[in-house]
Amino acid sequence: MRTPAFLVICLIVAAAVFATAVGVGNDYVFFAGYVVLQYVVLSTAWNILGGYCGYVNFGTAAFFALGAYSTVAIYKLIAVSELPHVVPIPVLMLIGGVVSGIVGFGMGYLTLRLRGAFFSIATLALAVVLETLVVNWDYVGGSRGAYVIRPEELPLIGNYIRYLFLMMLLLAVAAITIARLIEHSRLGYGFATIRDDELAAEASGVPTLRLKLIATTISGTLMGMAGAPFPYYIGFLQPDSTFALDYAVNSIAMPLIGGTTSWAGPLIGTLLLGTLQQIITVTISSAVNLLLVGCLLVLFVIVAPNGIVGLVHTYLQRKPEDFVGRRRVGADAAGSLS
């Protein structure tokens, strides 16, 4: 399937989802749905670097928070100026994405020459350093937090939470489309070789550092874009909750449970795990919820390393890795399996 066709299908599905949500008539759907969609973006973004390239990023929260705090900074900037108070979300996403992307690139440049394990540890460090910087930066509220006032209604769409939901829905579509585009392109092949054997990849002519930087930048940018609307969603932004390790564990667990070799994995993992979490948090407690995520992560990683996508394909007698590196032109006529 060519990418434009895929995109159209996604948009149709998205429109159906939005229409259904409106039809339910209860705003809770939008609140809960926003979080799930946010994680679709975060886990898809994580998977581009983690699943495709094999480099584990523990600092999802850092990139997410960069997007969120960019929005807060702009909000405060505008509040004291004469400009209209509401900046459209897509613009905020763009700005948040750019900030995160730059930081992602910078961090990658410093640490991607090292082994994967060092990169992963460095991402952990980045999250903490960033959090400390934010906690000590009073302009964005420091440790006390920052209030962001949600605008009221918008024409056509309804209340603001619906608008946020719609924006995140579109971002999710964009993220999935980008992931799929990468998979089917030369870049996807290159990423796979980095994951499989970086030394052999270099010897075959793959510019591994450049590709890793591309992956880190794309991943970081998407995460920043997911974080940009967050202050409006939550109303009160605190470093504790924004930098929480929950983002890291979820954005890692969802792709690993869903399946890391294709765009479908993070989506499936997020929908399943995200829904499960909403239920558990509401019915039992958020601590039990985290325990569950941790247990599922460990369980899947040991028992089903290729995730749900892998299980489904083993069941259907196919190999899940077929999804990676499918040719975009030509040989489908040759009747090949992959």
């Binding site: 094999g54 584990v56 410093l110 394990a117 400390t132 601590a287």
Partner: protein, 291 residues
């Protein structure tokens, strides 16, 4: 900030003392990551576990936390051996340790921390021991015993570990496993068994480190997270597996943290160790006494 010589000297001394403790905390990671390449980021969680074990026994029976932690070493060792076995069979054998192995330990970190929260709650816990209150004074220098005692015992622990690694057969087999597994096999030594023993030792050190921790400061489950950065910063800076290097790096970090806290305020403290780590990785990944 008001600069006074007194403050300066005390900042250095307390930095060195806490550095000794940090070295004990890191010793397990030096063994697992520095020597064996097992990226156990859950190590701090096991340390917190050790703290809680010491807490329970101390609260119920009044036993000394350090002695308690020594008594439970076999249990921690067994835990470590079991975890390594799972890790080996599921990941190392299949070559999956870089992505899934890492995620595995991350999951363990979470499970341990959240289980502790569910069982003990988020209140700070502390222990009682005769050396927790008093402070020794040498002229202008203050040495709180609750830091001095763990520091000294830590150094003994490190010295013991170094002896084991250099003088015993098992110790040298562990060093050998890091370098040439094939050669070990040819000597009819099973590398997997050696690594299991080593990882068991690594987690066993967490028992002691946990006792030290709860003596030095009150503990609640998420305290472990601050230590992730410290531990890996020290391990890398110390040259990845060199125990003497670990001690030096630990004391260096302790002093820098101490200065930062004294002259700039404690809210910057977490950034110090993690910033150290980033700096080390960016500039000299081989560490101070690098291999």
């Amino acid at each position: 900030m008001i600069f006074s010589f007194n403050l300066f000297i005390n900042a250095i001394v307390s930095g060195i003392l806490i550095g000794g403790f940090y070295a004990a905390v890191t010793s397990g990671v030096s063994l697992a990551f520095g020597i064996l390449d097992i990226v156990n980021i859950a190590h701090p969680a096991f340390i917190i576990l050790g703290s809680y074990v010491a807490y329970i026994v101390n609260a119920s029976f009044g036993f000394d936390p350090i002695l308690t932690s020594i008594v439970v070493i076999p249990a921690f060792y067994a835990l470590g051996a079991a975890i390594y076995q799972i890790y080996y069979v599921s990941f190392e054998k299949r070559g999956q340790e870089s992505l899934r192995g890492l995620a595995f330990f991350f999951g363990l970190l979470f499970i341990t921390e959240v289980s502790l929260v569910l069982y003990f709650g988020v209140d700070y816990r502390y222990v009682d021991a005769p050396y927790i209150g008093p402070t020794w004074h040498f002229g202008n220098i203050d040495m709180p015993l609750r830091i001095l005692v763990p520091c000294l015992v830590s150094l003994v622990l490190i010295a013991a570990l170094e002896l084991v690694l250099t003088r015993t057969f098992i110790g040298r087999a562990i060093m050998a496993v890091a370098q040439d597994q094939q050669a070990l096999r040819l000597m009819a030594v099973d590398p997997v068994r050696i690594k299991r023993i080593a990882f068991g030792i690594s987690i066993a050190t967490a028992s002691l480190a946990g006792a030290f921790l709860i003596i030095i400061q009150p503990v609640e489950p998420s305290v472990g997270r601050e230590y992730i950065g410290r531990v890996f910063a020290i391990c890398v800076l110390g040259g990845m597996g060199s125990l003497p290097g670990t001690v030096i790096a630990a004391m260096l970090l302790g002093v820098v943290e101490s200065f930062t806290a004294t002259f700039y305020g404690p809210s910057w403290a977490p950034a110090v160790s993690f910033g150290f780590l980033l700096l080390t990785l960016a500039v000299r990944p081989a560490g101070l006494l690098g291999r």
